[in-house]
Amino acid sequence: MASHGVPRSATREQRSVEARQKELREIEQYQSLVTEIRQGVEKKDLSPELLDKTSALLKKNPEYYTIWNVRRLIFANEFDNLVNQVQNQHLEEDKKQSQVLDIINHDLYFLFPLLLEYPKCYWIWNHRLWLLNQGSFYLTPGGARALWDDELTLVSKMLTRDSRNFHGWGYRRTVIEKLESDELNGQSLSRAEYNYTTKMIGQNLSNFSAWHTRSRLILKILNEENADAVERKQMLDEELKLIHKALFDPYDQSLWFYHQNLMSNFDPDTCQKAMAPGLSQAEKVAYVQEEREFVEDLIEDAADSKWVYQALMDCVLIEGKLTGGLSAEMNKNVQTWLEKLKELDPLRSGRWADVQHTILRRTV
């Protein structure tokens, strides 16, 4: 929205007479530009002059979606004309291709500074994707692929500047999907992307975007490579090793969410959709006990991290599901941890009361 994180500036009552007049002049200029573009579209005058006017307006206001639509109408018309010229044998196919490529490149170049200035503006990202998709349609697979390759470089740069940019990560997934597609003679990039998340996590452990992307990629890799039970278990072991290393910061919720994700391998209610669904009952119990010991060790240095108690409780509850119930001792432990959670995490005391209630009901 227009005003996320906008600090206070001079209000209109405080504007000087000159400032007010200047603003009124700006409004007039802006409005006449809007009118000229609208008239151009009504007259179906999809000329280079009209394109220049849309450029001028979008630089002032990249959120004006109707103007992006006008821009696309102009380009679509130019592409149509080129195709017609080829059909009428007034133009060679390779000349058409190079002209299409020029148009696309020129506009990608126009968008670049806008993207840097307004990285959260949906319409700019949309327009870029539209242009690139035109490339896929009108160019040879090789020519189109080069455009998408450059786009991957661009989005990597953006994610280096802001490693949690939501649009950036989403856009990256779209670009990768295109580079993998048959229309561009692509093949799977899952392993490369998995390594990319390792790199991003290495730079900043609390990058939840990277952990999320990783969780999706792992399932994709295992399916693409037809991984058997042993390979799946290997992947799980590697992920556990990584998260254990990361959890030297036991206060970071991104890490604990990922840990919970791995724990879903052992929970009979969720394991079917997890990365290693073929674990035996005995293996699951062994894993859960190992995790519990790992978390217990963390308590010494992080007795005030609520996540530790929550993880311990999860371990024990899953173990209870696997072995047919909680021992009296474990039950007592769970109650102690729940009390600890209520104390450390008062904002969510309603949740902990619900959990307590459910366990009591189950035990009775």
């Binding site: 227009a2 005003s3 994180g5 600090p7 979606y65 109707t66 949690r164 919720q253 969410f257």
Partner: protein, 341 residues
């Protein structure tokens, strides 16, 4: 309806108030919203024209929840909505702007709120059947999801908008609901929350749209309720406000997206409601009116709407009850024929 931010600033006039002294400045907010359209001498008024119809919806909804439905003149509101209607059956952000799902849903919501849906039939571009056609044509029949307009960007936001508008028009039979529902399910992540498209990271805005869509389709059985509620409740920060995803700052609008998800699955008590209430109240400018995203920033009508809606959902006294699926007055939703089937 201007979407210019300011002139007020959230928290300016109640910074030192103790929690039990914080009160909703109803009259000031009403005045603030009523005066928004008198700001045409500001460049920002024109630079935000692409949001105008959304702005009318935000202002109108806030006024209705504040108990001042007369705050915006009914006839002029209806006329403005119909002036945004286009030949393709959809609505643009303002007269002369292209049709888009985001404005089409606002148009339908506004007309329903002022009890004027039959007025659609008087539009020169056709009645509600034409509007429903515009929406239904944006469904991708293969995947089940929706695009925002003819240019094709897909997002579960648009799927939600389609469900919202078509259920208000009682024309859900125009689309493949089952396919759309399966698509929403595919957007669920390991944390129980949802993304824009399958594979995308969880975001509380998408919880509002995905859980809202499932609720409208009466398919809440598909939600991993405990897992989702756990993730949503972790959005609350020690200052009482809620954020959109892990490690981000609190914000009044995210507070609404998270709150609706919790409310729809019956887990509102998994966060500290009075702390959230106080956070929202601290975002108001009690003198000039309006609310901001967080204390200290400029107010705007968007955050004013979602702040008031959040307080209503939290049961703040004196407010008209809001419906969490639609962000509209609950009695308006209860009267819709779709909910009497």
């Amino acid at each position: 309806m201007s979407l210019v931010s300011g002139p007020g600033r959230g928290g300016t006039h109640n910074q030192d108030a103790l929690p039990d002294q914080l009160k909703l400045a109803v009259d000031q907010h009403v005045r603030y919203i009523r005066n928004l359209d008198t700001r045409k001498d500001e460049l920002q008024y024109w630079l935000t024209e692409h949001l105008r119809l959304n702005g009318v919806y935000w202002g109108l909804t806030a006024l209705h929840l504040l108990g001042h439905p007369e705050g915006l003149p009914r006839d002029a509101t209806i006329k403005f909505v119909l002036d945004c209607h286009n030949i393709d059956g959809g609505f643009g952000a303002a007269p002369g702007h292209d049709s888009h799902m985001l404005y089409t849903v606002s148009a339908v919501q506004i007309l329903a709120t002022v009890d004027a849906l039959p007025e659609l039939e008087s539009s020169k571009y056709g009645g509600k059947a034409k509007v429903a056609d515009f929406i239904a044509n944006l469904q991708d029949r293969e995947s089940g999801t929706f695009a925002g307009d003819e240019w094709g960007e897909q997002d579960t936001r648009f799927l939600y908008c389609a469900f919202n508008a078509l259920s208000i028009l009682n024309m859900m039979d125009r689309i493949d609901v089952d396919k759309a529902v399966a698509y929403v399910k595919a957007c669920e992540n390991f944390d129980g929350s949802y993304g824009r498209i399958p594979g995308a990271e969880s975001h509380s805005g998408q919880v509002f749209t995905c859980v809202g869509a499932l609720a409208i389709a009466r398919r809440l059985d598909l939600v991993s309720q405990d897992r989702l509620a756990a993730w949503l409740s972790e959005r609350q920060l020690p200052n009482g406000g809620l954020n959109g995803r892990p490690e981000k700052l609190e914000d009044v609008c995210y507070s609404w997206w998270v709150l609706t998800g919790l409310s729809i699955i019956g887990k509102l008590h998994w966060i500290d409601k009075s702390k959230l209430s106080n956070f929202i109240l601290r975002c108001q400018d009690t003198e000039h009116g309006g609310m901001s995203d967080r204390p200290g920033n400029m107010v705007d009508v968007f955050h004013t709407c979602f702040g008031v809606a959040g307080l209503s959902l939290l049961g703040y006294p004196g407010l008209r009850k809001v419906n969490p699926m639609y962000c509209m007055p609950d009695d308006v939703v209860q009267k819709l024929p779709y909910w009497h089937k």
